[in-house]
């Protein structure tokens, strides 16, 4: 065959137009991926500038005052920080048992059929918008749970908001925990059964410790979400314009996010007059740094699980 003899003449580099298109597409997709970095930079830029303007113009003594009343120039940080912490703690007190329990049941006990039904319902709960849970916290949780528990509580209180946030965080905690528990190899469970351990013993003494870092990650992630949650708190915790320093969860209180949304709604009244509106950016920066720190820590724990198995 004479045609085969001329094989060395075949150009193996492929057509030029195809290669050119290949490079163009590559560059386009790279640009899309870099957009995410651009967004991060823009977020930091938009927060830092105004936050710095706030810090450099504010009277520093007003950061430690009777309460958070930005329109009267009282920017008491401990009010919003303690409020945020209290609501996040109530939320985690709800979400930890519910989320972990649901996750352990789904991953270790539920039959595949039951799992096929229960998991999507939990996903629906995860998809409920926070504004709906805010309404629910205000009109159902507050009168039917909190005010029955403590008759002195008002309609607006931090406990109801915290429970609402907790319900919102539960599916997140459940799904991350379940992933961590399912990542534990079956060999560990079988070894435990082989030694004669019961199911409950296997779950609590073998699977749970093996998945511990993933479970810690889920709780930290839940805490971060609880701190950043806005609408439930803005609707159910009261204190729209401002709040006195308060440590009683059965009283209205203010969180960083609720303070920000209150400033945002009333922005036309306060813009330009004092530095009240700038405090929004300062709170935003604080919130951003806090949640970022928590997310980075949680990421560490998740990586530990991945390295182990």
């Amino acid at each position: 065959m004479t045609t085969e003899a001329s094989a060395p003449d075949i150009d193996l580099r492929g057509s030029r137009t195809r290669l050119r298109r290949e490079r163009r597409v590559h560059r386009l997709f790279f640009g899309a991926a870099v957009t995410s970095i651009l967004i991060s930079l823009l977020i930091i830029g938009s927060l830092a500038g105004e936050a710095w303007r706030f810090i450099s113009t504010v009277d520093l003594s007003s950061l430690w005052d009777l309460g958070w009343f930005p329109r009267r120039g009282m920017f008491d940080l401990k009010t919003v920080l303690v409020g945020t912490l209290l609501i996040a703690l109530v939320a985690m007190a709800v979400a930890t048992p519910l989320g972990l329990g649901a996750a352990v049941y789904l991953s270790e006990y539920a039959r595949p059929r039951a799992r096929r039904w229960l998991k999507p319902i939990l996903e629906v709960l995860a998809g409920i918008p926070s504004v709906v849970l805010g309404y629910f916290a205000l009109t159902w949780i507050s009168p039917n749970l909190v005010m029955r528990l403590n008759p002195q509580a008002g309609v607006f209180n931090m406990a109801a908001a915290g429970i609402g946030v907790g319900i919102l965080v539960t599916p997140l905690v459940a799904s991350v925990t379940e992933d961590a528990m399912r990542a534990v190899p079956h060999a560990l469970r079988e070894a435990s059964y082989g030694l004669g351990a019961r199911k409950a013993t296997t779950v609590t003494r073998v699977v749970f410790p093996a998945a511990a870092s993933g479970i810690v990650a889920s709780l930290i992630l839940g805490l971060s979400r609880a701190i950043g949650e806005t609408m439930v708190v803005a609707m159910a915790a009261g204190a729209v314009g401002g709040s006195l320093f308060e440590v009683n969860i059965f009283q209205p209180g203010q969180t960083m996010t609720a303070a920000m949304s209150a400033l945002a709604i009333g922005s036309d009244q306060v813009a330009g007059s004092t530095n009240a509106f700038q405090s929004l950016f300062f709170l935003g920066l604080l919130l951003f740094l806090m949640t970022l720190a928590l997310n980075v820590i949680s990421e560490r724990f998740v990586r530990k699980v991945r390295e182990k198995y």
Binding site: F30, S36, S40, G127, V131, V132, A200, N295
Partner: protein
């Protein structure tokens, strides 16, 4: 003479000690309490749905479809959701047009092209961290950057850039990391053999991606993106900062362009502002608005789940 009960055989003893079901409370109570935790969270969901429907009933039965078709108003008897629903749909369109191409493109880059170097790892970490940034912080991004951007390109309209376009851009930035993460997961699930077969017959990387990888990953990507759209649809906090109207406004007979650049609101924002109105009328109307929101969102979710089950591929 003492009567001696005969000893059971050795085999019987062994069988008893292995199979002997001594009832243990721990064995029963532990899974029961776990199930209780799960049912408790589902009970909250059920209570929420029932409670909202019961509260919405007086508005829905008394007003019928006019709750959906009327315009916003300060009067609870005539107030409706038309502008809010249209605003939310408009926002969703902007989000889909902007976030999906960029998000899917970024996912394709990270899964198919990116070398394993420091930059790629940084991008990945950055995306995961962006996904955890509270939504109200994205509102600040929208307020300082996107509103100005919309004004700068001359689409500010009568509201100095605090319009549907800026709101849509804000929500697009908010859901972008989630789109990237879900699309990347779907791409990762496509077996390497598919790609290798493509390269084996001489296709370029882009040709393999376009004709093989993306079509196989499409159901997963689609499900993920529909769920993301539903999330954007229910988001409230960032829109409060980007000027979604919490009061009432009228657009009259404005054209499409004026509507897109003029004042706007969204369904969840309307729920928020109605929930703050006093009076039993508005309480029922708020519940009715929540019913509308949930029906729209759950329809989208159900569609996504059906799509996933229908096109799910087992390798």
């Amino acid at each position: 003479m003492a009567t001696r009960t005969p000893l059971p055989s050795t085999g019987e003893l062994v069988r008893r000690s292995i199979q002997g079901r001594r009832f243990s409370w721990a064995d029963f109570a532990f899974p029961a309490s776990l199930l209780l935790a799960l049912l408790f969270s589902l009970l909250f969901l059920a209570t929420l749905l029932v409670d909202v429907f019961v509260k919405a009933w007086s508005a829905l039965s008394g007003r019928g479809w006019s709750v959906v078709t009327s315009s916003l108003s300060l009067n609870a008897e005539t107030a409706g959701l038309w502008q809010s629903i249209m605003g939310s749909l408009g926002l969703t369109v902007v989000v889909a047009v902007i976030a999906f191409p960029i998000g899917i493109g970024a996912a394709v880059y990270l899964e198919e092209y990116a070398p394993d170097n420091r930059l790629t790892r940084f991008i990945n970490t950055n995306i995961r961290n962006l996904a955890g940034v509270p939504s109200i912080v994205y509102g600040i991004l929208g307020f300082t950057i996107f509103v100005r951007f919309v004004r700068a390109v001359g689409a500010g309209g009568g509201v100095a850039g605090q319009n549907l376009l800026a709101g849509g851009l804000t929500l697009a930035a908010l859901v972008l990391p989630i789109v990237i993460i879900t699309a990347a997961e779907a791409l990762r699930a496509v077996p390497a053999a598919i790609r290798e077969a493509g390269f084996g017959v001489g296709a370029t990387r882009w040709e393999v991606i376009r004709h093989h990888v993306v079509p196989y990953a499409a159901p997963g990507i689609l499900t993920g993106t529909v769920l993301t759209l539903a999330r954007a649809f229910g988001e409230t906090a960032p829109l409060l900062l980007v000027g979604a109207a919490t009061g009432f406004f009228s657009v009259g007979s404005a054209g499409l362009l004026q509507k897109a650049t003029g004042p706007y609101t969204a369904l969840p924002v309307t729920i928020f502002s109605w929930a703050r109105q006093p009076g039993a009328d508005f309480r029922s109307l708020t519940a009715a608005a929540i019913v509308v929101l949930l029906v729209l969102m759950l329809t989208a979710n159900a569609a996504a789940i059906i799509l996933r089950n229908r096109f799910e591929r087992k390798w």
